[in-house]
C-alpha cells in the first residue's frame, strides 16, 4: 500500500466555498496545494479565519471540498464514498484542540480508545488499548475510568491514543496543545516528538502559535485569508521569511525571555507590525488579500493575486515583492 515514491499526502488545488446567510460566497479554502512526505511533520500557521481548520477538516472529509484533489498514498480521497471512504479513513486520524469536548463523558476511557477498532472490526481491542495507554504514558488502569477524572493534559493523551489506535499513516492535529497550560503543553509536545521517533508518524500540525509550530515541524505553511501564502522548511521560514505577512507574524510574537532581558526594546516592547485586520470574507479585495496591511504594497498588489511560486529550492511564497521582504532578527536563544 505504501509506495515510497508517492507522497503520503498530496493536496492539489483544494477549494472550499461556503455560502453565508446573506448569500455572499466565502472562500474558506482558495486553491491550496500541499504535500506531506512519509515521516514528515508539516505545520500550518495562521490567524483565526485563515482557513487552517477547514484545511484539516477537508482533508479528513469531515467537510466536503468544493473542488480539488486529496490523495493519500496515491488514492484520491476526495472522490471516495461509502465503504471505500470508511476504509480509506483508517489511514488518516485527527486530534482536536479541546480535550474536554472531544471525548464522550459517558464512556470509559477504554471504550473511547477502542471505538475506532470496533468501528473498523479490528480484533484484539483490549490488548491494543493497554498497549496504546502505555504508548501515551498513561497507566493501564486508566481504561476503567471516565474522562472527567483526568486533567486536560491527560485527556489529550487519551485523544492521541484513540487517534493512534488504527495505526494511521497521517495524523491531523488541530491546535492540540492550545488549550493547555504551559507546563502541560511541553509534556504533550514531547509526547508527540517521541511518538514520531518511535512510530515514524507523519503529521499536519495546525496551530496559531508560531513558537510551538517551529518546535515540532519540518516544514511550515503560512495561511492568510484562505490561501497558502508561504511554504518553506522551518528554519528558512523563521530566519528568512519571504512573505510580508509571515514577517509581520514573526515580529508580533513575544521574543524568548532571555533575549528580552538582554535587550529591552525602547518604547513599546512589542512591535505592532501589521496594522489593521483581515478583510471582510464576504467582500474580498481584488488583488493580494494582505495588500491593505502590507508595508510593501504597490499598485499591482491591489490588482492581481500573486501566485505561490518558488523563491528558492523548497521555499515558496505568494508575493510580488518577495525578494524585498526584510528578515526579522533571528529568533535565537542562548
Amino acid at each position: 500500500m505504501s509506495d515510497e515514491t508517492v507522497p503520503l499526502l498530496e493536496v492539489r488545488n483544494l477549494v472550499k466555498h461556503y455560502r453565508e446567510a446573506s448569500g455572499a460566497r466565502v472562500r474558506a479554502l482558495d486553491d491550496v496545494s500541499l504535500t506531506v512526505r512519509r515521516g514528515e511533520v508539516v505545520g500550518i500557521v495562521g490567524e483565526s479565519g485563515c482557513g487552517k481548520t477547514t484545511l484539516g477538516r477537508t482533508i479528513m472529509r469531515l467537510v466536503e471540498p468544493t473542488s480539488g484533489e486529496i490523495r493519500v498514498d496515491g488514492v484520491d480521497f476526495a472522490s471516495l464514498s461509502g465503504a471505500k471512504l470508511k476504509a480509506a479513513r483508517r489511514r488518516v486520524q485527527m486530534v482536536f484542540q479541546d480535550p474536554f469536548g472531544s471525548l464522550n463523558p459517558r464512556h470509559k476511557v477504554g471504550v473511547i480508545i477502542a471505538e475506532p477498532l470496533v468501528v473498523h472490526g479490528v480484533p484484539g481491542a483490549k490488548a491494543r488499548v493497554a498497549e496504546l495507554l502505555d504508548l501515551v504514558g498513561l497507566p493501564g488502569e486508566a481504561a476503567g475510568r471516565y474522562p472527567h477524572e483526568f486533567s486536560g493534559g491527560q485527556r489529550q493523551r487519551i485523544a492521541i491514543a484513540r487517534a493512534l489506535a488504527l495505526d494511521p499513516a497521517l495524523i491531523i492535529a488541530d491546535e492540540p496543545v492550545s488549550a493547555l497550560d504551559v507546563s502541560i503543553q511541553s509534556q504533550i509536545i514531547n509526547l508527540i516528538g517521541s511518538l514520531r521517533a518511535r512510530l515514524g508518524l507523519s503529521m499536519i500540525f495546525i496551530s496559531h502559535d508560531l513558537s510551538v509550530v517551529r518546535h515540532v515541524s519540518d516544514r511550515v505553511g503560512v495561511m492568510y485569508f484562505g490561501k497558502l501564502v508561504e511554504l518553506a522548511p522551518t528554519s528558512a521560514l523563521f530566519e528568512r521569511p519571504r512573505h510580508p505577512y509571515t514577517s509581520a507574524l514573526l515580529a508580533s510574537v513575544p521574543r524568548p525571555v532571555k533575549d528580552v532581558v538582554r535587550e529591552k526594546r525602547a518604547g513599546a516592547g512589542l512591535v505592532a507590525a501589521a496594522p489593521g485586520e483581515i478583510p471582510d470574507p464576504a467582500n474580498p479585495p481584488p488583488g493580494c488579500a494582505y495588500a491593505a496591511r502590507c508595508p510593501l504594497a504597490e499598485p499591482r498588489c491591489r490588482e492581481a493575486v500573486p501566485p505561490l511560486a518558488a523563491v528558492e529550492t523548497g521555499h515558496e511564497a505568494a508575493c510580488w515583492r518577495s525578494g524585498e521582504v526584510a528578515a526579522r532578527e533571528p529568533i535565537t536563544s542562548a
Binding site: 504551559v182 509534556q187 528554519s235 512589542l270
Partner: protein, 325 residues
C-alpha cells in the same frame, strides 16, 4: 509576607498587602502582596487555577461574596482600603477611578446597545455630561484607542465589530472617566497575534501618556517580559517570585519560575525534547502542605513538603523557596 521594595519614589496607586481569599473556607489566594506606581505596568503571571484572576476581581470587588470572602489583608487604592468598603462607595470608584478590561470583550459588552451609548453611559452617570457631550467624548475616546472612523462606530453594535475592535471599545470604556488604575485580565488571549501586538502597544502607550497604573494578568510569560517592568509569578494561590523582569524571569531563583521559563518552546532549540514539568497544578482544596510545587519540583527537599518557605529578598527580587536555584 511577600514584600516588594518600592522601585519608584512616588506613592503607589495600588498596594495589596497580605491578601487572602477563601471559597467557603477553602483558600484560593494566600498572603498576596504587591504594589503599582503611577505609570507602571506590573505583570501577574501563572497557570490556570493559580489565583491570578480572582486576585484581579477582588481588587475591583467584583467577586460574589459569599461564597468568596476576603479572609485577610488589605487592598489600598490611593490610600483607601477597598477590602471593607461599602458597595455604594465601591461603585463610585469602579468605572471612574479604576477600570477593568477582560479576555472576552463580547461578554462584557451589552449586545443590544450601540457602542456609543455604552461608552457614554459612565460619562453621563459619573461626570454628569449631557447625552450630546457624552457622545462627543465617546468619539474622542474611540479615536484615542485607534478605532478608524470613530463617529461611524458610535452607531454600531458589538456584533458588528471584530474581536480586536471590541477590545479597543472595552479599553475606551475603561478609560472614559480618566481612571488611575487599569486592571487587564488576559486582554489579548482571545486575539490573533498581530492584533495582540496592536492592543498591547496601545495599552503600553496609554499608561505612559496618562500615568496609569496597570495590572496585567496573563498566562503568557513572553508578553509580560516584553511590556512589564516588574512581575509577580503565582503558583497555587501564592506569589512564589516577584521582582524586575531581568531578575525574576531573566535569572529566576524559585524552582517553579525557572522550570516555567525553561519549558517554553521558544527558549529551546527546535525539535529537541523540552525540559518539562511533570504532573499538574494542584487545584484549590488539594494543595499540599509546605511548598505547593514540591511534588513537581526536581530539587525538592524533605523540608519543602513540611513547611511553607518564607519570603526571601535577593536584591530587588524576592522569592519563596527552600532550595533556590
Amino acid at each position: 509576607m511577600t514584600r516588594l521594595p518600592e522601585t519608584s519614589p512616588t506613592e503607589p496607586i495600588l498596594s495589596v498587602e497580605g491578601l487572602s481569599l477563601d471559597l467557603r473556607g477553602t483558600p484560593l489566594v494566600e498572603d498576596v502582596s504587591f504594589s503599582i506606581a503611577p505609570g507602571e505596568m506590573l505583570g501577574l503571571v501563572g497557570e490556570s487555577g493559580c489565583g491570578k484572576s480572582v486576585t484581579a476581581l477582588s481588587i475591583m470587588r467584583l467577586l460574589p461574596t459569599p461564597p468568596i470572602a476576603i479572609s485577610g489583608g488589605r487592598i489600598l487604592f490611593e490610600g483607601t482600603d477597598l477590602a471593607g468598603l461599602p458597595e455604594a462607595q465601591m461603585r463610585r470608584l469602579r468605572g471612574r477611578r479604576m477600570g477593568m478590561i477582560f479576555q472576552e470583550p463580547m461578554t462584557a459588552l451589552n449586545p443590544v446597545f450601540t457602542i456609543g451609548s455604552q461608552i457614554a453611559e459612565p460619562l453621563r452617570i459619573h461626570e454628569g455630561l449631557s447625552e450630546r457631550a457624552a457622545l462627543e467624548r465617546a468619539a474622542e475616546l474611540l479615536a484615542r484607542v485607534g478605532l478608524p472612523s470613530p463617529r461611524t462606530q458610535l452607531a454600531r453594535y458589538p456584533h458588528q465589530l471584530s474581536g480586536g475592535q471590541r477590545q479597543r471599545v472595552m479599553i475606551a470604556m475603561a478609560l472614559a472617566c480618566g481612571p488611575r488604575l487599569l486592571v487587564a485580565d488576559e486582554p489579548t488571549t482571545a486575539l490573533d497575534v498581530t492584533v495582540q501586538a496592536q492592543i498591547l502597544a496601545l495599552v503600553d502607550g496609554l499608561r505612559r501618556d496618562m500615568g496609569l497604573a496597570c495590572l496585567l494578568i496573563t498566562h503568557d510569560l513572553g508578553v509580560v517580559a516584553e511590556i512589564c517592568e516588574r512581575v509577580c509569578v503565582m503558583y497555587a494561590g501564592r506569589i512564589v517570585e516577584a521582582g524586575p523582569i531581568a531578575d525574576a524571569l531573566g535569572a529566576p531563583r524559585h524552582r517553579y519560575t525557572r522550570a516555567l521559563v525553561e519549558t517554553i518552546p521558544l527558549s529551546n532549540p527546535p525539535g529537541r525534547p523540552l525540559p518539562s514539568i511533570p504532573g499538574n497544578v494542584p487545584p484549590p482544596g488539594a494543595r499540599p502542605r509546605g511548598c505547593a510545587f514540591a511534588d513537581r519540583c526536581s530539587a525538592a527537599l524533605d523540608r519543602c513538603r513540611a513547611e511553607t518557605p518564607p519570603w526571601t529578598m535577593d536584591g530587588a527580587r524576592g522569592f519563596a523557596c527552600w532550595n533556590p536555584a
